[in-house]
Symmetry: C2
Subunit: 643 residues, 2 copies
Amino acid sequence: MIFVISRIIIENVKPILNDGEKSIKRICGETVRVSADIFSHGHETVKARIAYKHESRDEWRHSEMKGMGNDTWEGSFTVSMKGTYIYTVEAWSDTFTLWLNNIAKWKEAGENIAPDLLEGILLIREKCHPRAENEIAELEKLLEKLENGEFKDPLDEISRPLIYGIITKNWAKDDFVSYEKELTVEAVEKARIFRSWYEMFPRSQGTKPNVSGTFRDCINRLPDIADMGFDLIYLTPIHPIGITNRRGKNGSKKCEKGDPGSPWAIGNEKGGHKSINPDLGTMDDFLEFVNKARGFGIDIAMDIAFQCSPDHPYVKEHPEWFRRRIDGSIRYAENPPKRYYDIYPLDFDTRDKEGLWNELKSIFIFWAEKGIRVFRVDNPHTKPFDFWEWILKEVKREFPDTVFLAEAFTRPKVMYELSKIGFTLSYSYFTWRNFNYEIMEYFREIESYPISEHFWPVLFTNTPDILTENLRVNGRPAFIYRAFLAATLSPSWGIYSGYELCENAGIEGTEEYLNSEKYEIKVRDWNSTGNIKGFISSLNGARRENPVFSHFGNTTFLETGNPNIVAYLRTYEDSSALMLVNINPREAHTAYIDLPPESLGIRNFDSYILEDLLTKERMYFHGNKIIITLYPEKRAGMVLVRV
Amino acid sequence: MIFVISRIIIENVKPILNDGEKSIKRICGETVRVSADIFSHGHETVKARIAYKHESRDEWRHSEMKGMGNDTWEGSFTVSMKGTYIYTVEAWSDTFTLWLNNIAKWKEAGENIAPDLLEGILLIREKCHPRAENEIAELEKLLEKLENGEFKDPLDEISRPLIYGIITKNWAKDDFVSYEKELTVEAVEKARIFRSWYEMFPRSQGTKPNVSGTFRDCINRLPDIADMGFDLIYLTPIHPIGITNRRGKNGSKKCEKGDPGSPWAIGNEKGGHKSINPDLGTMDDFLEFVNKARGFGIDIAMDIAFQCSPDHPYVKEHPEWFRRRIDGSIRYAENPPKRYYDIYPLDFDTRDKEGLWNELKSIFIFWAEKGIRVFRVDNPHTKPFDFWEWILKEVKREFPDTVFLAEAFTRPKVMYELSKIGFTLSYSYFTWRNFNYEIMEYFREIESYPISEHFWPVLFTNTPDILTENLRVNGRPAFIYRAFLAATLSPSWGIYSGYELCENAGIEGTEEYLNSEKYEIKVRDWNSTGNIKGFISSLNGARRENPVFSHFGNTTFLETGNPNIVAYLRTYEDSSALMLVNINPREAHTAYIDLPPESLGIRNFDSYILEDLLTKERMYFHGNKIIITLYPEKRAGMVLVRV
């Protein structure tokens, strides 16, 4: 026919990770907004759509894209099922619209459109082939009347909704092109991500000093933990602990009798990564704990640390899995100028790579078969990327719902790489972002494209390795506002036990706890004075009340007129919440906020009520300016929503 | 050996166009700064380099990259020869530095380093194999003494410059990886780009009203054009002009006797794209003109418009190259609601595609063989992208130095695409960017990554189709400052003749010239009162005096405190110039500039002299604040450089 074959260019498709080699991530029910530059030479009329499908389906689905100006096109689709979706962009020349636009212009310019109309009839006959009987009949009727010149205004006839609909629906997609790459998105169920983590040493859940707590003691703790609103308990390693070079109190090289050792020095004659430290109980005890926890709506996460104490069975059974020094001795874990004499790292490039890698995989599988679906992985950045890419894929193939949290505190790009090669969640720098500008800068970074497409942080207030100076020096008020920030800035947040008691005895100049639980058994009064369990409970409650807290991203920081205040709006679809928090642990400060137009779903600011989801306190406002004073402990942070 | 094999990731390599499918551009002598994210797991010590070579060479050259923090690496290489260079990024583990750093830390921590030293000796034996006799000997001497424990401080010995140099130079590149793509850069000689264009209708170079000027008249114009400092004359089409439906004065459909017709209605019984309009002279006359121009340092650019008048020989010889209407007639050029009855477009998708495309190629080749190396291509955006990609490559293969200028005033992304698929230069929106913020916004856009890597604008002040309202309404002062902007913002700038005379009689409400030269022969007094030839000459002179004007990009707009002033620093290597221009054609305005630290090569602003390259006026300054008043015509713009 008469139209030039156009060559449509599809470029700059987003979101895309590493040229399409890596998957972006979404929570089930979320949308993927896709944009692309789409254009052709000349005045061709282009149409475009997203083609997408769940990997388990054969048929592609389509979602229309719209031109947004400057040859940028946008569209979106929703990932409803868990698993991998494939998506790409398709475009074609809309020769019908081109013809219709042109003939309308000729007509308006007073040109003779008779030949153009004849061409149009031929075009329709060539390009439009409905399948439905009634559509075929309607179209035939139209064409006959057009050919017979029966219409006073043929263009009006063609533009009638019925006819126009039939034509556009059935028109051939000329010059059809597909973007050269098929991109992927991994959809994860919300319940796997939207979680409050409680990290604890099972051996410290007992009640007698210097006597190891057991899984039975852990069971006794469940009501308390559930009351605080936690739904995921992460246990430090539960395996037998090495004897050789065991560390004593405060990590001392000198170990006293009765010192229990670091749980990360895994393995002794009682077993390794698939065994349970007999001090904690039996496998049955463990499974009972897991089961009981489930009754409280709590899942159990395990710590996977791929390293061995010198007494681990692997050392004897597979000496070739370890690296050796020149004198033939096994190389200790080291991070110059430190050596860890209670730990042997594994040699991931051992000549028996297949044996080692498969054995490590079998550890995940072993615990997954016992019902564990959340693994916190210790120091993944000290093991090769390709190992993780392999093992995570292997485990997910058998247990697709498994969640892996990367405990990597290392350079940002290494952390981002880990989250691109299969880790579901990641530790973050949140712990060290204390000032107003640091907090804003960090969350702006991780919520910026393309990092936001794959990096999902779990915001921990503290860990057994990290008692920040802020917490150590400022105590309770700092514990309160740091929990507030963690709980409201990510669907996944957590504390390491003791935080609820504002434990802040540390070793000055370090981030170590004094008398760290890593090296001894602790017995705590879980209801000691000054605890913030009620506050934590209200935080976890607020998180369940508003959908903004179960999704990553969509945080907008507001100007506060005061560097001691952090203010941020978070939104998800139609929901929104305004967080105000005083980050000064010593003084009251006042926030001065101008609410952006229509924020919090308020169309006009004449008069409205906001409720603090933490205290249920209601405040009446007039105008978009909000001025609220926040205190160091009481009302340190507010979660304001429109009532 | 004992080191883990690291897996080094090389990502986010820049510059890159379309995933590496398109070439970036550089002028010979310029550098290409390459950056990449390069990292490995753990604490591996990475090294990286750029590998690059001219396509005509077999051997790769290397340029070291440096870590800039946050795992970003940067390096650069220079493209000295014209043609295509290939570049990529390589990285490897520097196991020697890793060992040396670690052992130094052990030593400082007071650990026993004897075994580490032994390992180091083994490492050196395994990884370091010099070829030079003296290096082999030195290394052997070192190793023997190390083994015999002869050194008091072995690390000091190894760190001695001679030894350290031998070791690092000859150390094996462990875990060597290459970026997966080979990227390309097209290097173009400066002389082909750094040009001042003078567009003219040869038929208007005569002296008698209504009598076509000839190439002989064009020869007579050369001293005048050369005096203004132009070094490239671009001729509107010089071919026989169609008779059928020829347009009359001001584009009228009614053609009077004697009307010469639009030169873009190409072809009549005297010939087509390879023929010369006999009114202008013979081929020999043309070649004499080309030759004489060269004597003035002026090259000739031709206009290539792939379209035909109804009288073009192709119409009879190759009727299949044209598109037909339903009534069998050939389809006119059209842009609804307009039809151009004096022009037939070609059907680039004709069934005789091979025949048509090869014939069109032969047009370029025909004129290239006559010595033409610059082609201004008419409306390339109305022809398919793949046609241009093919034909430009074909012509460049035979005549590698050929420069193609895309006359595409269309959507930005289409213009960018054309410049990515082989056009050397492009028309731009400059003509319509009149206000301070418009100018800054536009140049920031085209100088931003990645557009700056390939889009090279020729800044025309006017064209036969574009007499802007600004010029039409404001006259001479506007002509002056627009020329200033064009000449100082790109190595390639140009005027359409008559601009030097400030011709501004236009048709209100359009951008058409009144009595446009497109449809009639003009005879001008080239020295009429009010001409700005002297000013243009000083602009072109200033351009030759400072290297900033012969390179694209590197423009920094400065705050002026006055929207009527545009101020910009341009730099290239060690050169720099400060441009100040008053864009108000009616009033004087004062610029208030704070010179950034060390700009214009001034290390301290105690006392310095700036010279205006246009007037040679010198001004003395103290401090970095510059306050200068600019007038509508006299001193409308200044090119300030440090003396």
